[in-house]
Amino acid sequence: MTDIATYNFAYLDEQTKRMIRRAILKGIAIPGYQVPFASREMPMPYGWGTGGVQVTASIIGPDDVLKVIDQGADDTTNAVSIRAFFKKVANVAVTTDTASATIIQTRHRIPEHPLTAGQVLVYQVPIPEPLRFLEPRETETRKMHALEEYGLMHVKLYEDIAKHGRIATTYAYPVKVEGRYVMDPSPTPKFDNPKMHRSPALQLFGAGREKRIYAVPPFTDVVSLDFEDHPFEVQTFDQPCALCAAENVYLDEVILDDHGGHMFVCSDTDHCEKRREEGHRGHLAPEMMEPAQ
């Protein structure tokens, strides 16, 4: 017997999966609306992606190919652990290649490689309610969504401009979905917001601690909130990736020593590795690459 036999397929019991599946269907039917669901205890702490894991566990089948990224990287603790978890409890194929994955569970990034129809992007969400830091009472935020009363969010963005001269929100930048619900895109950098707009992939969001699931169907309008005189802008970087020389991608700052040395590299490790395999070289890339294994 393999050790998978000690669990139901994909860890969750069937009744839990049905409950989550019903919530996902409602989420797809009402884009941007946060569907309450009976989030379960998972064998990892809240904050490590229990919402995303429950969504993935409920949709995944034996033919799926799973990719898990954490801040764009396939090789960080969270990504490695969740990938190993599904390998163990669902015995599914895993990959780091964005194009060949059918389900991509992500913490706080959207891959640089364009997603295609048929792929599902599962976001891990810490605080699903975009209005929560403006209005702590759930009864009130629920009413605000019901009445489409989003003035408070515009006031918040306006206060940014009054204080800083520009909208200073850089991540979890609020979006309006299909002209109705204001939604938190999860703490992705606002750099990724345009990728959500009319994406061919289905986007599902799971918040385990806050017990909410929401969704953006493919080809759905996702518009970042802004003002006519302060239009939405994404981050730009002065220099290309130090390893693969990519431009117009999201970069992470990496500290190299304790004398202030640092470099900027692609946050999407799969994208960066592919480019280096193709022969692109940044100014800090090693002279000779070892041949790919």
Binding site: A23, L25, K26, A29, I30, G61, P217
Partner: protein
Amino acid sequence: MDIAAQSIEGGFADPVFNAQTVFRAVMDAMARPGSVQALPGLARPPAPLSATSGAIALALCDNDTPLWLDPALHASAAIGSWLGFHTGAPLANTPADAHFAFVANPAEMMALDGFSQGTQDYPDRSTTLILQVGDLTSGTPLLLAGPGIETSATIAPARMPRHFVEQWKQNNQRFPRGVDIVLATPDGIACLPRTTRIKTMEA
């Protein structure tokens, strides 16, 4: 076959993986309205509940989801006990209490607004309708637009409810409240979530 045997036979051969297959078909159909997702006959419920809608019931319904059956389905005691045995789902007293409604005869169906529409605060508390249609090609062509559809999609479900396009327009106007529809043909499904806008080809 007596009613006791009928109510026990015909469930999923492999409950875990069959339920996943059916759910993914429904999810993909709901995410891409107008696309037809093939579904092999995984369940064998008593007639007139179709194999496709039976499979949807097995995949999504349980003791948390009151069901409503249209008169054609309600008339068969075997269907009630089949659903009861395999899903444990109670039957709803009124359509407005139902989480899922199964309709074998959509042409004779009651109005869409008789089902639960959810509330403005909780629009998810609405009924999902599973309509058994003969096919998606022989009826009035419906031109679909909205989330999940890149430009437009067309389906032509047979034997749809009376004044369906007009009723659906009202369903759109209730957004975010409203019902969602799963069209179950003998070999596949298509979905009409409440966000989908419908135009008839003639109009």
